[in-house]
Assembly symmetry: C2
Homo-oligomer: 359 residues x 2
């Protein structure tokens, strides 16, 4: 596992591409006191990232110790090759969502030993430097994917980058990584897109019945189509393997619903339920039993503050919070998730302070 | 639209089936001072619901004014028919997720004018009386689905029930309702199940890369397979129509990824993005631009209270909160979503009080 204290990253670090990820890396390294240089085809992005404190515009001369390529997937191969050629002493990495394709593009470049791919498992359905955060990577997995000819020093440098950004480095072979993200990111994204596509021209009175479920299922489908087009095409073989599995399961599902074969439908549903339980829980541990405490909260400033001040007095640790977003609620309803054994205590404590709570 | 003050519900109300929905209805009506009787095949469920304050065990004699049938979908037709026969003066409704099937089961029952189906758009991936809440329905849509022969008095009584529970009644024909929920609930559920099914026997090191996206997409698939089996079969025609559309789109998707036809893939992704934007926003209005403010918060009691007390002093309305659930974070990272124009003020205010914030 990662050391508690991050390995030092040797600067200057050149960040190529100051979108969401590049700017966030600049902010995270800046937090560690590392010198960061910023470059982007769009000058405005460099200015924005620089003003946010992500680093300084790359100077005309001098050589970075590490280049982090954060450009869209289609441009990765060219930018990685250019960085290897321009800076013959630098370690080069990228943060693309697919790792086999850029590696193939680097091909037989004489400097390829200095290239080690990586992929932080962090992002957002928003994009651009203004969505960036120095905390984007805190505690997140960050895949580090060395190829067989990678220099050990380059692997160490990229591992140190992940740690300096607050992430947990996860070493993995490039093709293994690509199969993993097809399953836990790319195919979920594509199926969310297919669900959301069915909403695009639905009658308004049908959509008015939307609850939290459909919002959650489709949220990621709000991501930038131009970016996802490149990610999916870049990982086509692994994605197609899984989409073909999904097609087979969809056929079974349609058959089960058509014929009314309950056992077959039940088996598919049970397999899905088992899949949700296979995702690791908070801090990697198994999920603990939790209970929801609901509190009515007027939708204006200061009320949440008052609630949490009062909840704090009860000394109960709040594991998660959900503020209802459904249309039509006259006041906000806040759901506090707490350990099951502590819920009654929290309820009593809030009620004694005048809150309207609900089982 | 719904009246601000709920129409009175005439009691006693008999709730048949004291699971999540039945118990929540009992709690909500009890809040309004309505007399509630509880019945369930499982005596333990009645005891639990009664102890929670959802009502009293149904007495051996006397007649309810309103019967709310909250049993699993397979049993709806029989229980609705029994209620119409047993209580010849009572209005009867049910809260099942599908409305055509129970209506067909009631068939030519002489009392069918007293039956009006309904469906609150509220639920949980959890089930049973212990998951119930009197606030489950607050501000939620509650479809009221009269058939052509329904008595106007029965329609008014069921509308009043929805309002008394805090929900917004949405009148809709039964078959229209079933097409709507196929699109915004049943098919999203089934595709979440197919995604989650791909995780069920994935290697642990693949799952270790899971981020918030796959958690959101698959959450609903954690729901009870036995219940969903009945819901899906009960709405088979509408579900099959949409699954067939999804199959066609999946074929297009596989073809686009196979051939590398970017335009076709891009069009599918753009359609999904448009679909996410079609879902109505908070309080039914269009989404306002928001920005995230990230704050590091130690994962123990009282810290959130301190944060919200300090945030409250800044007079910024917090639209949503997200506490990161990803494994491995050493401290909690809390994301506060606020109106874009107010974010800088909140950041400065929190920083001045010693919080570690992150853009």
């Amino acid at each position: 596992m990662a050391e508690a204290i991050a390995t030092a990253v040797r600067g200057p670090v050149l960040v190529v591409g100051t979108g969401l990820l590049g700017t966030s890396i600049g902010l995270a390294l800046h937090r560690q006191g590392v010198e960061v240089w910023l470059r982007d085809l769009v000058a405005e992005n460099v200015r924005t990232a620089s003003q946010l404190g992500a680093g300084v515009p790359a100077p005309g001369q001098g050589a970075p110790a590490l280049v982090v390529v954060c450009v869209p997937p289609d441009l990765l191969g060219a930018e990685i090759g250019a960085a290897l050629a321009t800076y013959p002493e630098a370690v080069v990495t990228d943060v693309g969502s697919v790792k086999s394709a850029p590696l193939a593009a680097v091909g037989q470049h004489p400097g390829r030993g200095r290239y080690v791919g990586s992929h932080p498992m962090a992002g957002s359905e928003r994009s651009g430097p203004l969505a960036a955060s120095s905390s984007l990577f805190d505690g997140r997995p960050w895949a580090v994917t060395p190829h067989p000819d990678a220099d050990p020093g380059a692997v160490a440098a990229v591992t140190a980058l992940a740690e300096a950004c607050g992430a947990t480095p996860v070493p993995m072979a490039p093709d293994e990584h690509d199969r993993a993200v097809a399953r836990i990111s790319h195919v979920p994204h594509l199926l969310a897109v297919l669900v959301a596509g069915r909403l695009a021209d639905a009658p308004a009175d049908h959509l008015a019945l939307s609850g939290q479920g459909v919002r959650d299922v489709t949220r990621v489908a709000g991501g930038d189509p131009a970016l996802w087009e490149q990610i999916i095409e870049g990982n086509a073989p692994a994605v197609l393997g899984l989409l073909s599995e999904v097609r087979g399961q969809l056929e079974l599902l349609i058959e089960a619903v058509t014929t009314g074969e309950r056992d077959q439908l039940g088996a598919l549903l049970a397999r899905g339920q088992a899949g949700t339980q296979a995702i690791p829980g908070k801090h990697g541990g198994p999920p603990r039993p939790q209970r929801s405490v609901f509190v009515s909260v007027p939708d204006h400033p200061g009320e949440l503050a008052r609630l949490f001040a009062d909840a704090g007095a009860s000394e109960v640790n709040i594991e998660d919070i959900h503020i209802d977003h459904d249309p039509g609620r006259p006041v906000g309803l806040v759901e506090l998730l707490v350990e099951e054994a502590r819920a009654d205590h929290l309820l009593a404590s809030l009620e004694s302070r005048g809150w309207v709570t609900h089982r």
